[in-house]
């Protein structure tokens, strides 16, 4: 959690007190350096009539922290008391200004905005960012936003929610709509076997629900009905779908009853025999839940025990999460010797921060390749299995993002060859510490992850070498369209088949028409342009967020054609 300056000072004082009482002997041999004392706070604003804005002068953000126009009282849903004190809008804006100056990655590119020109905090925050663009023409800072803290806390504390356990791809959002299943969660209602048939499988097309035509219905009321059925509100809520499976025009009827569903990080682990040795295959969909640590370690142990000689890591729907688990995964791929004394990722903050993390006030130590469990869901210190590979095949789409890209970059940093099969990744080498102030949680880019070679400039994503994209970090591999005709793990599935082909002879399948574009439904949601065709179907927030707010249509890269 972010630590404001007074807290850092107090923590340092406590530390000093402990050291002074003669701990002797190193006290546990912690692996990271103790926090460095923070710089002394700036003097308080002068004058007795409250703070004022002075162009070019940035007071210490801690002076304005929690000085709220509308202070909250009581405790939040995690039981922590609100820290708010009576303040003013000006103090909130001055906090935003100073906090941005202290922690924003591109602080020197932010205009010095006069708070007097603003009447609310969110518009002011929205303007406190760089206006630069990347080589592709995309906004350099595409990730700047805020939300009510109440919403932020509710989301991170949300229990498993009612669902069928199916992930949807909207290949066409307007009539004739095409809504498919990307994958189903193991053990969920969607994966249930009824009369010898799994309720939903990858590629299943949803045709109607409760008599409403999903493909052709034109009214907003119908779309609302469809959305309500796709995303049930309560456990036990039941809806009846007409569906067709890939490879057949026949239809069947499925009744699904919602259950409390948690996302499973690993949904498939298998060993694929080939003439040149066994190949491991893992579908790893999220680094976010703490269970991801154990699930990916268990999957890697399975493959290590099987003695696989290569790995196809399917990250096509993995939008990221915990960098520590990304580090562990990379270690398990590369093994001891390749990772010894190497950096998985260094968080690069703004230049003014020096070697201090400006958010936590601690020394900015690199993230190593973690070799053991860290205590998320594996016992702290438990050894991790390794495959000791010098090459890995990673399956990707535009939903392959953040911590998933950190795996690609971290491995490239130690000269493990990453062969990318699929499509250009989302391009997010950045991160932030969400920060509450006065009931609003702000996300401002604070660090860029760089690998052992000090490289982290992949804001336009990693792209397979045979792509026609003129931007992105070129990576060995093949452009292949996501394939909803075959199941994940089926060696006929296009991305996996291409990986096996590349492994076999170093060649790629023929480029599909319009290669370089990602037709996978996860991108094709909200930006459907033609309302005249009928109301567009949109995924609600959770799925949109999984996709890192990428709402571009098939054939686009982050909203633009290549």
């Amino acid at each position: 959690m972010p630590m404001n300056r007074p807290s850092a000072i107090l923590a340092s004082a406590i530390l000093f007190g402990l050291a002074a009482c003669g701990g002797g002997g190193g006290g546990g041999g912690g692996s990271s350096a103790p926090p460095a004392p923070p710089p002394p706070p700036s003097p308080p604003p002068s004058g007795g009539s409250g703070p004022t804005y002075t162009p070019g002068v940035y007071e210490d953000a801690s002076l304005f922290k929690d000085q709220c126009e509308t202070p909250r009282t009581g405790v939040d849903i995690e039981g922590n008391p609100f820290p708010d004190e009576a303040g003013s809008l000006l103090e909130e804006l001055l906090w935003l200004r100073s906090w941005t100056d202290e922690t924003y990655l591109w602080r020197t590119e932010v205009p010095d905005l006069d708070p007097d020109n603003y009447t609310a905090r969110v518009p002011y925050f929205d303007d406190l960012k760089t206006s630069a663009v990347t080589a592709s023409g995309e906004a350099k800072d595409d990730f700047h936003f805020s939300e009510p803290t109440e919403d932020y806390l509710a989301a991170r504390n949300s229990a498993p929610s009612p669902a069928y356990g199916a992930s949807y791809a909207i290949l066409a959002a307007t009539p004739p709509r095409d809504v498919r299943i990307r994958y189903v969660e193991p053990g969920s209602p969607a994966a249930e076997i009824v009369s010898g048939q799994q309720n939903l499988i990858r590629g299943t097309r949803l045709l109607s629900v409760d008599g409403v035509d999903i493909v052709n219905a034109g009214s907003q009321a119908a779309v609302n009905q469809i959305n309500a059925a796709l995303f049930p509100d309560t456990v036990g809520e039941s809806h009846t779908f007409t569906v067709s499976d890939p490879g057949t025009s026949a239809t069947r009827t499925v009744t699904l009853s919602a259950a409390n569903i948690s996302r499973q990080p690993v949904i498939r682990t298998s060993v694929i025999p080939t003439a040149t040795g066994d190949v491991g295959y893992i579908v790893f969909n999220t680094f976010s839940p703490f269970s991801s640590e154990k699930q990916i370690a268990d999957a890697m142990q399975t493959l290590a025990t099987a003695g696989v000689t290569d790995l196809v890591l399917d990250l096509r729907y993995n939008g990221g999460g915990l960098l520590a688990v990304a580090s562990q995964l990379s270690y398990m791929i590369a093994g001891n010797s390749r990772t010894s004394n190497r950096t998985f990722e260094l968080l690069r903050f703004n230049a003014a921060a020096g070697n201090i993390n400006p958010v936590t006030g601690e020394v900015n130590s690199p993230i190593p390749f973690y070799r053991t469990g860290l205590g998320f869901s594996l016992t702290n210190g438990a050894s991790l299995p390794t495959l000791d590979l010098g090459r890995v095949y990673i399956l990707s789409t535009g939903s392959t993002c953040s911590a998933s890209e950190a795996v690609i970059n971290g491995l490239r940093g130690i000269d493990v060859e990453v062969v990318l099969i699929g499509d250009i990744t989302c391009g997010k080498p950045y991160g932030f510490y969400p920060q509450d102030n006065c009931g609003q949680t702000y996300y401002t880019i604070q660090f860029q992850g760089v690998n052992d070679k000090n490289f982290g400039d992949f804001a336009d994503g990693f792209v397979p070498a045979n792509s026609s994209f003129a931007f992105g970090v070129e990576t060995p591999g093949c452009v292949v369209r996501d394939d909803f005709q075959n199941q994940l793990g089926d060696t006929s599935e296009a991305l996996l088949a291409a990986a096996l082909q590349y492994r076999s002879d170093g060649t790629c399948p023929a480029l599909p028409p319009g290669a370089g574009a990602d037709p996978s439904g996860e991108k094709g949601t909200a930006s459907a342009p033609d309302d005249a065709l009928g109301a567009p179907l949109e995924l609600p927030e959770p799925d949109v967020l999984e996709n890192n707010m990428d709402l571009s249509m098939p054939g686009d890269y982050r909203g633009r054609s290549q």
């Binding site: 504390n157 205590g375 991160g431």
Partner: protein, 128 residues
């Protein structure tokens, strides 16, 4: 200090530290004798002081077998796709009379009131 509750928690934590300083010269790794709800609740309450937050969730591990524990970070929000969060490890130690948790990265030590523990067998202790 703007937040009086934080101040109080910090003061309590400091007091615990001071107490620990006078008693922990010869501490050794330990495991808890029980890990029932009451015991864990007491442990979490000390850890809440140490961490300065109310909501404490422990990571994997059986505290009657392991000489360390981890405090999980808050769960990630859906937009935290590149999070440096990691669990905070603490070691469980005893001076023969009292039990303590020691924050591994800083050496800060907190007494576990009304919690029983035993020194770990040598092989287990060497694991930390």
């Amino acid at each position: 200090m703007k937040n009086p509750i934080k101040l109080i928690l910090s003061a309590i934590a400091t007091l615990n530290l001071v107490t620990a300083c006078t008693t922990a010269q010869t501490s050794e790794p330990a495991t808890l004798t029980r890990s029932d709800e009451t015991t864990l609740s007491r442990v979490k309450s000390v850890l809440a002081e140490a961490m300065g937050r109310n909501d404490i969730r422990l990571g994997a591990g059986d505290l009657t077998e392991e000489t360390s524990l981890t405090v999980l970070p808050p769960s990630l929000g859906p937009l935290e796709t590149s999070s440096p969060a990691i669990p905070i490890p603490f070691d469980i130690v005893t001076d023969g009379r009292h039990c303590f948790v020691v924050r591994r990265e800083t050496g800060e030590k907190y007494r576990l009131s009304d919690v029983n523990c035993v020194a770990a067998p040598r092989a287990q202790a060497s694991a930390i």
